[in-house]
């Protein structure tokens, strides 16, 4: 039995007072040390190196985590290989990857705009050439995807789940566009990087195709036919009298009558 103080079977160790305290303290420490670094020349140089690193890699990290997100999202409804427990885990991993990907994406976009690589308006309007513009396009679609992902529960209540599916499936468009953007805008990608993106595109596309086909080719959901006794117009035959006793009491009575 569960109790109000024990609402889980195996109480998680992540949501305790100490963990919360530790996380809050470490976040505060990181923020404060960031501010502290700006006070010294050497600190500013370190910060500059950090920003340069993020300028160079935040987009890559975003693309990699969003690739993982798409794959995991596709995996969450996989019922052939995954048990319910693993599907729950897949959902959690999908959300975690999406969170990381969105964070990296926001960092990437913020840095690109604040460092003057693109004008601020390019955040939403594709106006800086085709390859960078693809990134803008992908970002716009990502907004829809992230918002629907957060507000998923609302759609279940309001009664339009297909609407949610449609909007959230924008990711299947946004993601290839983002890959295209990643491979073409900025520096030239190494060939193995390009190949692995192509491989994951192919894998996800085939999985998606299988899922779509499975949905479309699913036999129509019909009520099952159960065989009922057949109707016949044969003449009635009197049933042969079966002289087996029905109950123990009757058997005893028969036995007594027979002596």
């Amino acid at each position: 039995m569960l109790h109000r103080r024990q609402p889980r079977h195996a109480p998680g160790t992540l949501d305790t007072r100490n963990v919360r305290l530790g996380v809050s303290v470490s976040i505060a420490a990181i923020l404060l040390s960031g501010f502290a670094l700006t006070r010294t020349d050497r600190g500013i140089e370190l910060l500059g190196r950090g920003v340069a690193f993020l300028e160079y890699f935040a987009g890559v990290f975003a693309l990699v985590s969003l690739t993982a997100t798409v794959a995991l999202g596709l995996l969450t409804t996989e019922r052939v290989f995954l048990s319910p427990a693993n599907r729950v885990r897949a959902q959690l991993a999908h959300r975690a990857a999406a969170f990381a990907g969105t964070a990296f994406l926001l960092t990437h976009v913020a840095l690109m705009i604040s460092l003057g690589h693109v004008p601020p308006a390019a955040l939403l309007i594709p106006m800086t050439g085709i390859w960078v513009g693809l990134g803008t396009l992908a970002f716009d679609m990502m907004i829809v995807v992230v918002v629907t992902g957060i507000a998923r529960g609302r759609f279940a209540v309001t009664g339009r789940p297909w609407m949610w599916r449609l909007m959230h499936a924008t990711s299947y468009v946004a993601w290839p566009v983002a890959i295209l953007h990643g491979l073409t805008a900025g520096r030239w990608a190494a060939s193995w990087v390009a190949w692995s993106y192509m491989a994951s595109l192919a894998a996800v596309a085939s999985a998606l195709l299988v899922r779509l086909l499975a949905t479309m080719l699913r036999p129509p959901l019909m009520a099952e036919q159960v065989d009922a006794p057949a109707v016949s117009d044969a003449p009635a035959e009197p049933a042969e009298r079966i002289d087996a006793p029905v109950s123990l009491a009757e058997a005893r009575r028969k036995y007594r009558e027979a002596g």
Partner: protein
């Protein structure tokens, strides 16, 4: 402050703690000083000697020698600070003496606590009481009265008095739980016992005792041991406060000298014994009619009769109600009051209550009850499982003939009237999981996430039970994770 309605007070013998309460609802500071005189600070050794002379015990139920407690705190404090903590948060629904003292005679309690605090050179006096009740308002007003008197030039003690309001639960009166609550933690008993006299409020040595103990201490200091011992038996001199309720026509707090026959107290409250008298609260034991007639109000007398005086709770049952049903009601209340920390208590007490309920319906057996009791006894951090076990076992013994009737006919013919006082059950929101069957694909994630409330049928489709309010977080998680977006959470009723 004049409270609108106050607990009723009756008296046999001399007026000690209830002096002056015949004429007024609440004794304010001037009235209290007129009655009891000014307070004179005394050295600790004097107080301990006096307390030892009359063998004063803690009045919260455990009857721990108060002199030993005082000495332990003084020893542990040795040069450090200490705290005096007044336990006015009795969790017992049948007890009203703490509330009576705090509402009607708060200055007597404060006098005793301040006397001890000054002798111990304590940092402060903390009065812990139930939040939002009249008692809290009254004691807060009493503290304000003292402060105002000092401003006006009186010589009241300047020691700090803090009032702490607590959520009332059955186990919140337990010493360890009380200390934790005052320290701002969850009001649940600690896993490892720590004596309050060594480490209590803020980790300081703490003199923790019941309101009545401190009131008795003030009376003892006022009268002196000889005068104090003029009433009551020679081994337990003085008076006790008894909370009489249940089948009594006039529920009241009775001040009686020790050695008073129990039947006199019951007559005073116009109570009939009926099937038995519960002594010592819901962790106490029943006295059947014959023993109750000859029982004497004192620790010794109650022990001879087969019970224990505890915190002085006396609940006569009367004849009109089904005694076994009343016991089952209390058992299920006690089960619900488990703080849920210790497994045997959390899981075992509901089983005990169910077994007793089965007995009421005539389907269970005495053996089943005893078996379930055995699995909780002495298996918890606090006294709650043991006390409940004692209550249930004592009910089995006291209502033997009634149980036989129940087992034979399924009922004893008397309805359960609710004679034993229980607090009103709180309104808890309940939730219902609604499923859109046209969308449900039988993924089964909800059954994985909420195994207690979702069952899958042979085809893999769910059926739901009502989800209690404290599970709503988990339930909405299941709603959010449904792959088919088919679940909804709705409030019932």
């Amino acid at each position: 402050m004049i409270p609108h309605s106050v607990p009723r007070v009756l008296r046999m013998g001399p007026a000690r703690l209830t002096a002056g309460l015949d004429h007024t609802r609440r004794l304010d500071l001037p009235a209290h000083r007129t009655l009891h005189g000014d307070q004179v600070p005394r050295p600790l050794d004097d107080i301990i000697a006096q307390v030892e002379e009359v063998d004063m015990r803690g009045r919260g139920g455990a009857a721990f020698p108060f002199a030993r407690k005082l000495r332990a705190v003084a020893d542990a404090a040795h040069g450090r600070e200490s705290v005096v903590l007044v336990n006015g948060a009795e969790g017992e629904p049948a007890s009203s003496k703490d509330a009576m003292l705090l509402v009607r005679n708060p200055h007597l309690v404060l006098d005793g606590a301040v006397l001890a605090a000054e002798a111990l050179n304590a940092r402060e006096v903390v009065v812990a009481t139930v939040e939002g009740e009249v008692a809290e308002a009254s004691i807060t007003a009493a503290v304000a009265e003292r402060r105002a008197a000092n401003v006006a030039g009186a010589a009241e003690s300047r020691i700090g008095i803090r009032v702490v309001g607590l959520q009332e639960r059955f186990i919140s009166g337990e010493g360890g739980a009380l200390v934790r609550a005052v320290n701002g933690m969850d009001p649940v008993p600690p896993g490892r016992k720590r004596r309050a006299s060594e480490s209590g409020v803020d980790g300081l040595p703490t003199l923790l005792s019941n309101t009545e103990t401190f009131a008795q201490l003030a009376v003892l200091a006022e009268l002196g041991p000889e005068q104090y011992a003029k009433t009551g038996t020679s081994r337990e001199p003085g008076t006790v406060l008894l909370s009489v309720s249940g089948g009594a026509a006039t529920a009241a707090v009775v001040e009686a000298p020790t050695g008073t026959p129990l039947i006199d107290v019951l007559d005073l409250c116009e109570a009939e014994i009926g099937d038995g008298v519960l002594i010592g609260g819901y962790h106490g034991a029943w006295l059947d009619a014959e023993t109750a007639i000859s029982a004497v109000v004192s620790r010794e007398g109650m022990k001879l009769a087969g019970g224990s005086l505890g915190a002085g709770i006396v609940v006569p049952l009367g004849e009109s109600t089904c005694p076994l049903g009343e016991a089952a009601r209390v058992a299920s209340y006690l089960a619900a009051q488990s703080s849920g920390q210790c497994g045997p208590c959390r899981l075992g007490l509901p089983d005990v209550a169910r077994a007793l309920g089965g007995l009421v319906e005539g389907t269970g057996s005495i053996d089943a009850v005893r078996r379930s009791v055995r699995s909780v006894e002495r298996r918890g951090a606090c006294f709650h499982p043991d006390g409940t076990a004692r209550f249930v076992l004592s009910s089995l013994d006291a209502f033997e003939s009634d149980i036989a009737l129940h087992l034979e006919h399924g009922s004893c013919g008397r309805p359960v009237r609710g004679v034993l006082p229980l607090p009103e059950p709180e309104e808890e929101p309940e939730y219902r999981l609604d499923v859109d069957w046209t969308r449900c694909q039988g993924h089964g994630l909800c059954a994985h996430l909420l195994p207690e409330f979702v069952e899958l049928d042979d085809y893999g489709f769910p059926s739901f039970k009502t989800v209690p309010g404290w599970m709503v977080k988990e339930a909405s998680r299941a709603v959010g994770m449904c792959p088919a977006l088919a679940l909804r959470l709705a409030r019932t009723g």
